[in-house]
């Protein structure tokens, strides 16, 4: 009982939108698809919905081919990044619309729509037109419409991307609860935000430039990113990647900096590697650490992202608290070898802390 894709390919004007995608999405699970913009997330959702044709590949729902079915015969609901509702219908009739199309009487459809509107906290807005609602409310209407019909497949394309920060946090909390009521549905939720993907997903899929790089439980993907590209996408700010080598029992980084080989790297053959470390695991150090100069400093919430140019390479530190750093100030950065991810020169993970 699942949605299975095999070798989906789509190339438009020589740009690969979908590049040999194969995956299985299971019923009753919430899958988050994380990738940067242009990674092919929307194209994939549109393919599953039937709004986009592919060049080659197979797509099956419970063993039945999906690609041959037109959109209106697939039981797929979708929420767009933009808030799309029917402008000529009231909020209530917007939500009742897909139920009406599926043969429910006006009364039953409206009754169900009312119940769903209650679940998305839109009670009292039934008679308004979408244009009379705020952005967050409009997206709730779209969400209610998608939830109302209990579709086999529920697709959400960055549904929170156009909401303000506060509202996004709040709706993210609510979504978890809403999806848990969806029973046997296959839910696929795309996002560009690592925190959202990790928090919502039972399964996280990582997409980059049309390819599926990794799929797995959120903690697996987070703890063992398969490639440097995955490591960059699922960390915010992206994981720092610097090149170096393991030689003579030492981790050698740029600028003549050497660190002792930690236990998780013991089995690795000497040679060139790429080392990754999360911004949050870099710390301001003392004078015998790597010293770099500040190129940029930005405050995000209660943290400061500090961009430092060092002999090892450019690094981004996530420092707790709000700090003002002067441009070009000298800053020592402590690199803890125990927290280093090791990738081979082609970018594949070979050791993780």
């Amino acid at each position: 009982m699942a949605l299975t894709a095999e070798h989906l390919n789509l190339t438009i004007d020589r740009i690969p939108y979908l590049d040999d995608l194969s995956f299985t999405l299971e019923r009753g699970r919430l899958h988050t698809l994380i990738g940067r913009t242009q990674a092919g997330k929307t194209t994939l959702l549109r393919t599953i919905a039937g709004l986009q044709r592919v060049d080659t590949g197979r797509l099956e729902l419970d063993g039945e081919s999906f690609l041959a079915k037109p959109v209106w015969e697939r039981d797929v609901a979708m929420v767009y990044e933009q808030f799309i509702n029917y402008p000529h219908l009231s909020v209530l009739d917007n939500v009742a619309f897909p139920l009406r199309r599926r043969g429910f009487s006006v009364d039953v459809a409206r009754e169900r729509a009312r119940a769903v509107l209650e679940r998305v906290n839109l009670r009292g807005f039934e008679e308004r037109r979408p244009a009379q609602l705020s952005g967050g409310q409009q997206q709730r209407v779209a969400l209610a419409r998608a939830l109302a019909r209990s579709a086999d497949v529920l697709l959400l394309d960055e549904p929170l991307a156009n909401l303000d920060y506060k509202l996004r946090e709040q709706m993210r909390e609510e979504l978890r609860g809403l999806f848990s009521d969806q029973g046997g549905a296959i839910v696929l939720y795309t996002t560009t935000e690592p925190a959202e993907a990790m928090m919502l997903g039972d399964v996280v899929l990582v997409m980059h430039e049309g390819r599926l790089l990794q799929a797995g439980r959120p903690d697996d993907v987070f703890d063992r990113p398969a490639t440097t590209a995955v490591a960059a996408v699922i960390n915010d700010p992206p994981m720092n990647i610097v090149s170096g080598a393991i030689e003579d029992g030492l981790v050698r980084l740029g600028g003549g900096r050497s660190l002792p080989v930690p236990s998780h790297m013991r089995g690795l053959a000497p040679g060139g590697y790429q080392f990754g470390i999360r911004a949050v695991e870099l710390e301001l150090g003392s004078d015998d650490d790597v010293v770099g100069t500040v190129t940029f400093s930005e405050v995000s919430g209660s943290e400061t992202f500090l961009h430092v140019e060092t002999p090892v390479g450019p690094l981004v530190l996530q420092v707790e608290g709000v700090h003002g750093f002067a441009l070009n100030a000298a800053v020592p950065v402590a690199i803890n070898p125990d927290r280093l991810f090791v990738f081979d020169p082609d970018g594949r993970l070979v050791a993780a802390p």
């Binding site: 209106w72 979708m78 933009q82 808030f83 402008p87 897909p98 199309r101």
Partner: protein, 281 residues
Amino acid sequence: MMSRLYLVLKYGTIVLWSMFVVAPFLWALTTSFKTVNGVTSGPTYLPWLQYEPSLSGWTSLFGGTGGIDIVQPYLNSIIVTLGASTISIVLGTLAAYGLSRFTYQLAFAKNSDIVFFFVSQRIMPPVVLGIPFFLMLRFLGLLDSQLGLIVVYIALLLPIAVWVMVDFFNNVPRQLDEMAMLDGCTPLQSFLSVVLPNSLPGIIVAGLFCIIFGWNDFFFAFTLTFTQTQLLPVAIVALNSSVTPWWTLSASALISVTPLVVIAILVERFLSRGHLAGAIR
């Protein structure tokens, strides 16, 4: 200070322009109540004070002496204009939706070429089409008939309807149709139940254009009819014999422009933008 100057200029311009536009109508209105003496004795505007008003200009339109019976041409004009406009809007809206949403390839012609083909029908001067239409209608036995004129007017109005509606549909977000199809509508159902209800402003604009062009046409009404199916513009011009009855002419001009004015007032509120707000943000 700046804003007061702006207001003065703004309303000054509007008042001047209104006078420019409305004055001919006032002129026609006062003329329609004059007789020979009133018309020939110089520019006079105020009835009773400057000239003795008379209803003969108006009564002559409804069987009175020295005029025509305007009722039959009026009905002809209404039937032909409304008939042709309605059919053009129905066909034009369907064609425009297809051209806006689906990709066609007829030999070398793609969607944009097909749209241009429609618009190009209006590039030629109508005179070019006069003789072909005459020969075709004669062959069909439809000369001097309402049906014949309706067929010809559809050929003239359909390009306008297609052109206006293609432009309108291109501005209706595609996601709306997609949403409807995801909700279980076939393409035709999504057109009828979602796109069409949100296209009222476009349809009204296209309809208004069709009615104006159809109502005002003189050339085809003149060349393709004789006596049985005179339309209003032809009937009015036919008044112009050796002595021009300016009062009758003025009355008939006012009476013929009235429907357009009424329609314009009725649909004015639909012509404002922003009707699709709430579809997509």
